[in-house]
């Protein structure tokens, strides 16, 4: 039983309008929906508000392309293939982007709250740090805290009334328009099976108003339903599905392919200036579609990255990215 959830890469990107708030599956340089990211860049999407449990290569590609006005998160970089987010760093220095800093756990609990329908979450993290410096409430400084999609307050301290456990930090639910996921398998009706660490995928899928799932393969729904306890996200939490093999490249995917370290190293090295970014985008994004991108990468590269079935990673890929 299919129900019309299947769309194309282009359609997926078109669902994401200028000014949308957006979040993603994955973790730093793993299972990022890069094929849709590239398509957004090709479609010249503007004024995006990224709200991410953590950032990574997807952030850097979008930020470098000038798609992003606001970034709320805790971290950006390419792990060992790029020490920090050079594009974000440049835009921050140029004051072309608003950055709202939270801690990693705060971001995670903000999504957990949104995913369970709570307006906020309780944590006890990061007390005493500049994350809670009231001067550094950047969305507040920009006058954007309307209490609708962006909370009235960055955070609030309160005391535990039940056990006298002391100061608690309340952080607002992460309200996002669209979550874009990149996973191993999705069923025709939307059931998602993630292999390996699922990071914060279940939370971001449930928190968003619209959830798009891009998968290495769309499989018969019935196949996934034979083992319901191995599935990660329920059918009705997913609005649209896209089949796109190697859609996470250059980020990696458990059981399928490794991170393309050399690609990311090159991206990091060449996009520290805007001119460098623009040249990189001209070569690798604009004028290509997903298939021509794969053709350009070539077979030897992808075969080297391909994961060994028993190990779920590639024993051939030199981890340093050289």
């Amino acid at each position: 039983m299919s129900n019309g959830k299947r769309i194309t890469l282009q359609q997926a990107a078109e669902i994401i309008k200028d000014g949308s708030s957006l979040t993603f599956s994955g973790f730093t340089i793993w299972r990022r929906p890069m094929a849709i990211i590239f398509e957004l860049i090709r479609q010249h999407r503007k004024n995006l508000h990224l709200i991410e449990v953590n950032g990574g290569s997807q952030t850097e590609f979008l930020v470098g392309a000038g798609c992003v006005d606001i970034w709320e998160s805790c971290w950006v970089g390419h792990e060992l293939y790029g020490k920090y987010g050079a594009n974000l760093s440049r835009k921050v220095a140029e004051k072309k982007i608003i950055v709202e800093d939270y801690s990693h756990a705060e971001m995670l609990f903000r999504f957990t709250a949104a995913a369970s329908g709570s307006p906020y979450a309780i944590t006890q993290t990061s007390l005493g740090t500049d994350i809670h410096n009231p001067e550094y409430d950047m969305l507040g400084r920009a006058g954007l805290r309307d209490g609708k999609r962006i909370a009235k307050l960055k955070y609030q301290f309160t005391e535990d009334p039940f056990y006298g456990a002391g100061s608690q930090v309340l952080v607002p639910a992460a309200k996002v328009d669209i979550a874009v996921l990149c996973v191993q398998q999705v069923g025709e009706e939307g059931t998602v099976r993630v292999n390996g660490q699922y990071y914060s995928d279940p939370e971001v899928a449930r928190a968003a108003d619209i959830t798009i799932v891009m998968a290495e393969e769309i499989v018969p729904e019935e196949y996934l339903r034979r083992n319901a306890d191995q599935n990660t996200i329920a059918s009705f939490e997913v609005d649209h599905i896209v089949e796109c093999p190697f859609g996470a490249h250059p980020t990696g995917m458990f059981g399928r392919y490794d991170v393309d370290g050399a690609f990311l190293k090159n991206f990091y090295a060449t996009t520290r200036t805007q001119e460098g970014y623009d040249a990189f985008a001209k070569e690798w994004i604009h004028g290509l579609d997903h298939i021509s991108y794969l053709e350009k990468l070539g077979w030897p590269r992808m075969l080297k990255l391909r994961a060994n079935t028993a190990m779920n990673y590639s024993p051939r890929e030199k981890k340093g990215g050289n």
Binding site: W30, S103, G166, G261, N312, G320
Partner: protein, 272 residues
């Protein structure tokens, strides 16, 4: 008849990594970040702490990777793990108080152990935006103790960090921002704080009462006085115990043959 390596056999990164590994006790639950912390913890797992339980932030619980993962999101993390799940599990477990020790890094540190990984310069007009906090403040807030591994440069050991990303022993009380003891802010969630900063020059610890850093041991090749000049604050060198324990030949073998043969995080030392 020592098994310690001779000076030409190891590099500073080796020394750092081994000193860090020595901070772990067997059977502890340890939360490690990407990079040198990961190598250090896996070295401990291969030597004196075979039963330590390793948590990776991306969602691997009690992992036993056979080779070093490139990051905590890496598929290599899951090999032999007790459970692979997600960040909600990792952070819930940490906040619940399971974690004995966290292994972290930083760009700047102050005399109270406050660490910065967010930006250099004024936050509102930064000279350089860095990666941001990641889980640094979280692991540091939740664990019973944390160990930081850092490159030692005078510009990194500062009077005041540009931005307190991760809380030390004396932290800012908002809204005013005056420094108070960490214990005062954390209430029932107080479990400890940074127990060591391991830099390329020495091992630093903290007086948990007044919150100040002091030099515990100096690495072979440096002296307490020299180290003091490499800090912008007035480092207490009165409690120094001696030289940092050297890497053993076996530790070096494990690092370079087993854990990081590709020199991803730790370069091999050219034999002279």
């Amino acid at each position: 008849m020592s098994n310690y390596a001779s000076p030409e056999e190891y590099g500073l990164a080796d020394l750092l990594c081994c000193a860090a590994a020595h901070e772990v006790k067997d059977n502890e639950v340890v939360f490690a970040g990407t990079g040198l912390p990961m190598v250090a913890i896996m070295l401990a797992q291969q030597t004196h702490a075979p039963n330590l339980k390793l948590i990776f932030e991306a969602g691997t619980l009690d992992g036993r990777p056979p080779e070093i993962p490139t990051s905590v999101g890496d598929a290599r993390c899951e090999m032999g793990a007790s459970r692979a799940s997600g960040l909600y599990d990792a952070f819930s477990i940490a906040q619940r108080g399971y974690v004995d020790m966290g292994f972290l890094g930083g760009a700047e540190v102050d005399q109270y152990g406050n660490v910065n990984t967010t930006c250099i310069g004024d936050y509102l007009d930064p000279e350089l935006r860095l990666t941001g906090s990641g889980g640094n403040p979280d692991i540091n807030s939740f664990a019973k103790r944390t160990v930081f591994i850092m490159v030692h440069e005078k510009r990194r050991f500062v009077e005041n960090v540009s931005y307190i990303t991760s809380p030390g022993w004396r932290v800012k009380k908002w809204p005013g921002g005056e420094f108070v003891h960490r214990r005062e802010l954390y209430g029932a969630a107080y479990r400890g704080g940074p127990s060591a900063i391991i830099s390329t020059l020495g091992v630093f610890r903290f007086d948990e009462q007044d919150g100040h850093m002091y030099l515990d041991t100096y690495h072979s090749g440096s002296t307490p006085d020299e180290i003091k000049t490499q800090c912008q604050f007035d480092l207490d060198i009165s409690r120094v115990k001696g030289a940092t324990e050297l890497p053993t030949k076996e530790e070096l073998r494990l690092i370079h043959e087993l854990l990081d043969p590709d020199e991803i995080f730790i370069p091999k030392t050219k034999k002279s």
